[in-house]
């Protein structure tokens, strides 16, 4: 959440000298449109469940390219409502402290991305209401839509709403992808600190275990550590 707030502030004019992202649970494609496209490769989810095309689970081979997300929509307006490049013009020195094996920003985030986007409402139980993205619709104005319980529908035209509810993401999070460029000037692998798969080791572990991380964080902020 912190990186959404800080990124949004920067996008709206906040200027900083340095900005360190820690375990950023934000899609990497926000920061770098050229980042590697990746779908997670989980098993056991495709054989027993019928997916609607709106859910955009591409095929029984989950690594196959997915053309069913607004990220890849050929219509420029629909495409620009998605995550692509939303934070690629951050100012300042932006450093990505990432951890590829972080359970929260890799496994759990990807699972949520695959199963709950676009977001369907709890009622009615058949899943007919909620957010939808229909890539094949000839009218781009209605590709992103919200259907209510009563069956009435409206278009979804706000990027924040699209990103929150209506957009499956074909990349990993920034916090789990050290190859992200764009506005990121330097990746730092927190696996080198021995953080393993822990999501917030720097906050939860003893200082003796995290001292090298804090030393490097201060250095990236242009400060002189006296640790």
């Amino acid at each position: 959440m912190g990186n959404i707030v800080a990124g949004s502030a920067s996008k709206n004019g906040m200027t900083v000298d340095s900005y360190a992202l820690l375990n950023a649970a934000v899609p990497a494609i926000c920061y770098d449109a050229g980042v590697q496209r990746r779908w997670p490769t989980f098993t056991g989810i495709y054989s027993s469940v019928t997916f609607h095309r709106d859910y955009n689970v591409p095929s029984p081979t989950p690594s196959a390219p997915n053309s069913g997300t607004p990220v890849d929509d050929a219509n420029a307006v629909v495409h620009d409502l998605s995550y692509v490049n939303q934070l690629s013009a951050l100012n300042g020195r932006v450093v990505n402290f990432y951890l590829e094996s972080d359970f929260a920003t890799s496994i759990s985030w990807n699972t949520n991305n695959m199963t709950f986007r676009p977001n369907t409402f709890a009622l009615p139980l058949d899943g007919s209401s909620g957010y939808k993205y229909i890539a094949t619709l000839s009218d781009p104005n209605w590709r992103l839509r919200l259907k209510s319980f009563s069956g009435s529908e409206r278009r979804v035209t706000d990027a924040h709403e699209v990103m929150s509810y209506d957009c499956k993401v074909p990349t990993f999070t920034l916090g789990a992808d050290g190859s992200t460029g764009g506005s990121i000037v330097k990746p730092i692998d927190m696996g080198a600190y021995g953080f393993g798969r822990e999501h917030s080791a720097q906050w939860q572990w003893h200082f003796q275990q995290t001292v090298q991380f804090y030393h490097d964080l201060l250095v990236e902020f242009g400060l002189t550590p006296t640790l």
Binding site: G44, A89, R93, T111, L137, P225
Partner: protein
């Protein structure tokens, strides 16, 4: 009396359900972007009977069915099933030459819960460098290996998702790097300077450990920015070792500089319209200095808020002229204070 209470409870439940439904249908935020330039309100609700929006029941795409969306209970079931996948992992630990390493400590974490890091397991590799874990359930397995006398880098830790589990006859490989002969090296850590953005060179002097003007140092950096730095911008960089050369290191534990293959200049241009645009160039190279000595340097030229900086993240020079650049970590203080030149 009981019938009356039941009716009251039923009405209350219905009221709560309706309330939940209303809360889950957000109104369109104000000021949202409009897709169409048509005069109609793009955010207006359309009823299914009158002036209907385009139907979403078109042709199937691939193997997906068009009839209806996935019910939320199904989504929850899928979510849970991902964390219940049956997993078996077979792995092997090798050194940089591909030889198996016995007696390696293997830390294993199984992602069997979405809300924490999951269960932990330990293994030790056998004489053939192999280890395995079977009969666990989860969305993936994280493995990290270590052994005294070896460097553990990026290839010593890895997360495999449930769809990436290797077969027994083709185990996944983790790599450790055997430590070699240590040398006493001159170190340079965490030092940087702001730099002109008009192509004027800045140099780093490995003798004085200072950033200096052109012609006074050995490692030179030049940057030229085209236009404003407010958004994406085009820029150009050039890194060089004056009367020397640079050769890319193969990996983080590549300590022996090559005899040949050095280039004097690294340069590139990043266009504002480049799909892979970035605001920095980071390098990790062997260097051959004019004096004939060798070193290795991790450096960066990178954008800041309104300027560029030239950074030496780490450098090590062997003053003896040897190409071996593997340093004795005990000869270096654990934390080297950062310094800045302006």
């Amino acid at each position: 009396m009981k019938k009356r209470i039941a009716w009251i409870i039923a009405v209350l439940l219905l009221f709560v359900a309706l309330l939940m439904f209303w809360r889950r249908v957000p109104d369109q935020p104000e000021g949202g972007e409009t897709i169409s330039k048509a005069k109609e309100d793009p955010t207006a609700w359309k009823s299914p009977s009158a002036n209907s929006p385009p139907s979403d029941s078109g042709q199937p795409v691939g193997n997906q069915l068009p009839e209806r969306a996935q019910p939320p209970v199904e989504a929850r079931r899928v979510f849970q099933s991902i964390f219940n996948a049956q997993l078996s992992l077979y792995g092997k630990v090798v050194d940089q030459d591909g030889r198996p390493i016995a007696g390696v400590h293997v830390s294993i974490g199984v992602a069997d819960k979405p809300w924490d890091s999951g269960s932990s397991h330990q293994r030790t590799t056998g004489p053939d460098g192999m280890f395995e874990i079977t009969g666990v359930k989860g969305a993936g397995i994280f493995v990290e290996v270590e052994k005294e006398g070896y460097y553990a880098g990026k290839e010593s830790r890895r997360l495999l998702q449930s769809g990436e589990m290797p077969a027994k006859d083709a185990p996944a490989v983790w790599k450790l790097y055997r430590k070699g002969a240590l040398e006493s090296l001159s170190h340079h850590d965490n030092t940087w300077t702001d730099m002109p953005m008009n192509g004027t060179p800045v140099e780093y002097d490995f003798n004085t450990k200072q950033f200096v003007g052109a012609g006074q140092g050995q490692l030179r950096a030049e940057v030229k920015v085209e236009g404003s730095m407010q958004q994406r911008f085009s820029w150009w960089y050039r890194i060089s070792v004056v009367s020397g050369g640079m050769a890319r290191r193969a990996h983080e534990f590549d300590f022996v500089a090559p005899e040949s293959g050095f280039v004097e200049v690294l340069e590139g241009r990043i266009s504002a319209t480049d799909g892979e645009w970035r605001g920095a160039f980071n390098g990790d190279y062997f260097i051959r200095l004019p004096s004939g000595t060798f070193g290795r340097v991790a450096f960066a030229v990178s954008r800041g808020r309104d300027s560029f900086s030239f950074r030496i993240d780490h450098a090590a020079i062997n003053p003896t002229g040897s190409r071996n650049l593997e340093y004795d970590p005990k000869s270096v203080p654990p934390f080297v204070p950062a310094t800045q030149s302006r």
